[in-house]
């Protein structure tokens, strides 16, 4: 098995009735690597994440994750593949407000048998895995873990989202502007926690943001405009 986690080749994508948005001849992300992908809003990064998650389908070219060509899988197989191998952290409001903190963290294991099995192998039970991850991320308080997710501060919520992305050790964590709602100090602290946990889990991290100031913390840094041949010159 190659060491590449994500491989994109000759990828082209356009929304119906619109000009080509993405045209990426080649892109790889190695296992265990952390990558900073810079992209302003409107540059197609959400679409790219959709393609990596198998929610959108490329018009041509190949998207492969762990050597599996996503284009060849049925849509339900893609859904299953995504949750088995990818954890997501979004910009804000990542959590289901009406569930408890711990229930939110456990969600991926409810939908993915693979991640549930992995969590159990390592921690004995899904609940124990959630508790362990939360305490690594500074949310060890059991009373807090039982609270409704929306009773937490934004910073705490993002750490809960990170725990959820990491539970059951997916090979890839995709973070889409997870720090934009945090202040500068909290941003770096959050990133350090995220790196530590990704490393501990052996997960690759694909971090998408427009905030160049964080780029130096990553193994690699790229701009979407450099990757994307369809990008307008102004973006480069």
């Amino acid at each position: 098995m190659s060491t590449a986690l994500i491989t994109l080749s000759d990828l082209q994508f356009a929304w119906p009735g619109q000009p080509t948005l993405l045209d990426i001849p080649e892109f790889t992300l190695e296992r265990g690597q952390s990558l900073f992908l810079k992209g302003p809003s409107g540059s197609g990064k959400t679409t790219l994440l959709g393609l990596l998650g198998g929610v959108q389908q490329a018009a041509s070219g190949r998207v492969s994750l762990l050597g599996e060509d996503l284009g060849r899988l049925s849509s339900s197989a893609r859904d299953r593949f995504r949750v088995d191998h990818t954890g997501y952290i979004f910009q804000q409001f990542n959590l289901l407000p009406f569930l408890s903190v711990r229930e939110n963290v456990e969600l991926p294991c409810r939908f993915s048998r693979l991640r549930s099995t992995r969590a159990c192998e390592r921690h004995g039970s899904v609940a124990a895995a959630a508790a362990a991850l939360l305490s690594h991320l500074g949310l060890a308080d059991e009373a807090l873990q039982a609270r409704r997710a929306d009773s937490l501060s934004i910073g705490q919520q993002q750490r809960v989202a990170a725990a959820r992305a990491l539970i059951g050790q997916p090979e890839l964590v995709i973070a889409d502007e997870p720090t934009s709602a945090l202040d500068t100090d909290a941003r770096e602290a959050f990133l350090h926690l995220l790196f530590t946990e990704c490393r501990a889990a052996g997960a690759s991290l694909l971090f998408v943001s427009h905030d160049q100031s964080l780029a130096h913390l990553f193994d690699r840094s790229l701009s979407l405009a450099e990757l994307n041949r369809a990008a307008t010159p102004a973006e480069v």
Partner: protein, 421 residues
């Protein structure tokens, strides 16, 4: 299981709208079941008014009219029939028993019926139940004794030994009273839930004694007056009665005897089968009853549409919830089933609350309804038909849940993982 947990938690998060929806469904379910129960009971008590009687015979008029005055004490006979006609058929070889009935007087709005001991012996209501005395005895040989129906005694507060005066005619306020010949209460019948409860029973002799000195529909004056004491000594054999009921030796003879009575040469008579006439009468009323049922069905439909509206309006603001679920691995059909579960949970809660309301309502109003309308509403478990109705409501809710489910399915396919607002 976790899908149900998520659906319920999400509903609890919107508990105000959810509760309103549940309450609307509950009220509509309660209304539907209440209408259904009253309808069933009304029909049953209607069919239970008379039993065991094979033929009712009166002067020739309409069958519904004859049934109304002879059994329900509503309306009046167009004509009387002769005593010898009654005797002729009472002694018919096919006839097992015969009950003469004489109507026309009243007491404070309640009808008076003249009859004889055969009435207490042979009259049956509901499932062949005989009349029972709650207190005292049936009227005896003295013509001025009266046996009251349960409701008469209760509503007018009579007890054994009380004296009462009957009025001529059936108007609530009658100008002509038989106040020279008061009656003594000697018995009170047990409640039957039929028009018997609203009847005062006297002997045919008593009925005859009341009118013995009447001429041309007016009481005699002065010397023509006959006192109660004098009446007792006179021959009180009636010459006319209003109707009679017949029980036959064999049901098979019913139609041939009916034809024989209808073709009787002595005077024009009409014989009806109570069951058939009851059906005929009920079919007159069943239009209103069906309308009521249809209206309550529409109320249930309104409740369910309210639920559909509440779920559909929530869909847009829940796009984030859907996207989050998608990102943690929920497939579009998971999202769709969440909404179906939600609709089902709302409807189920509504149905259960509706049942609770119904039983509370019945428990609270049972006595009142029985006393005032003669309807006994049982606190019984839902009947098979009621279960079917409830099942149909849940089925309709599931079907309606499919609409937002389908929309959410499409929406979550289109939105994917992007969180839009």
């Amino acid at each position: 299981m976790h899908l149900i947990r998520i659906a319920l938690a999400s509903l609890a998060n919107r508990r105000f709208t959810a509760l309103l929806t549940v309450f609307a469904i509950a009220l509509s379910v309660c209304l539907l079941l209440a209408v259904e129960r009253v309808r069933t009971e009304a029909r049953a008590s209607f069919a239970n008014t008379i039993s065991g009687t094979d033929l009712i015979v009166g002067a020739r008029s309409g069958s519904v009219n004859l049934l109304l005055y002879s059994v329900f004490r509503i309306g009046n006979a167009t004509n009387n029939i002769r005593w010898d006609s009654f005797e002729h058929f009472a002694e018919h070889r096919q006839v097992k028993w015969a009950i003469p009935i004489s109507l026309g007087d009243s007491h404070r709005g309640y009808r008076v019926m003249g009859t004889d001991a055969r009435y207490f012996e042979h009259y049956r209501y509901a499932r062949s139940q005989p009349l029972k005395l709650a207190q005292g005895r049936a009227f005896g040989d003295d013509p001025f004794e009266v046996t009251l129906g349960a409701e008469v005694a209760q509503a007018l507060g009579y007890s054994l030994g009380d004296k009462l005066v009957l009025a001529h005619g059936v108007a609530t306020i009658s100008l002509l009273k038989h106040d020279d010949k008061p009656f003594t209460v000697v018995g009170i019948l047990a409640r039957t839930g039929t028009p018997v409860d609203r009847t005062l029973h006297i002997s045919l002799a008593g009925m005859e004694a009341l009118h013995i000195d009447w001429q041309n529909g007016m009481p005699a004056r002065g010397a023509g007056k006959v006192s109660a004491e004098q009446a007792r000594a006179m021959d009180l054999q009636p010459k006319q009665i209003t109707a009679f009921m017949l029980g036959l030796n064999s049901k098979i003879a019913t139609f041939s005897l009916q034809r024989e009575i209808n073709e009787y040469r002595g005077e024009p008579l009409l014989a009806i089968l109570p069951g058939v006439a009851l059906q005929e009468l009920w079919s007159l009323m069943s239009t209103a009853e069906k309308a009521l049922f249809v209206v309550s069905l529409f109320v249930v439909l309104t409740g369910l549409i309210g639920m559909l509206t509440a779920i559909l309006t929530s869909l847009n603001e829940r796009r984030r919830e859907m996207a989050i679920l998608r990102s943690v691995g929920a497939r579009p059909w998971h999202i769709a089933s969440l909404l179906i579960v939600e609709a089902f949970a709302l409807a189920l809660a509504g149905v259960l609350l509706g049942l609770a309301l119904l039983y509370l309502g019945i428990a609270a109003s049972q006595g009142y309804v029985q006393a005032n309308y003669g309807l006994y509403l049982p606190l019984a478990l839902p009947s098979r038909y009621e279960w079917t109705l409830l099942g149909a409501i849940l089925g309709a809710a599931l079907l309606m849940g499919a609409v937002p489910a389908w929309r959410a399915y499409r929406q979550s396919l289109a939105d994917g993982l992007s969180i839009r607002l």
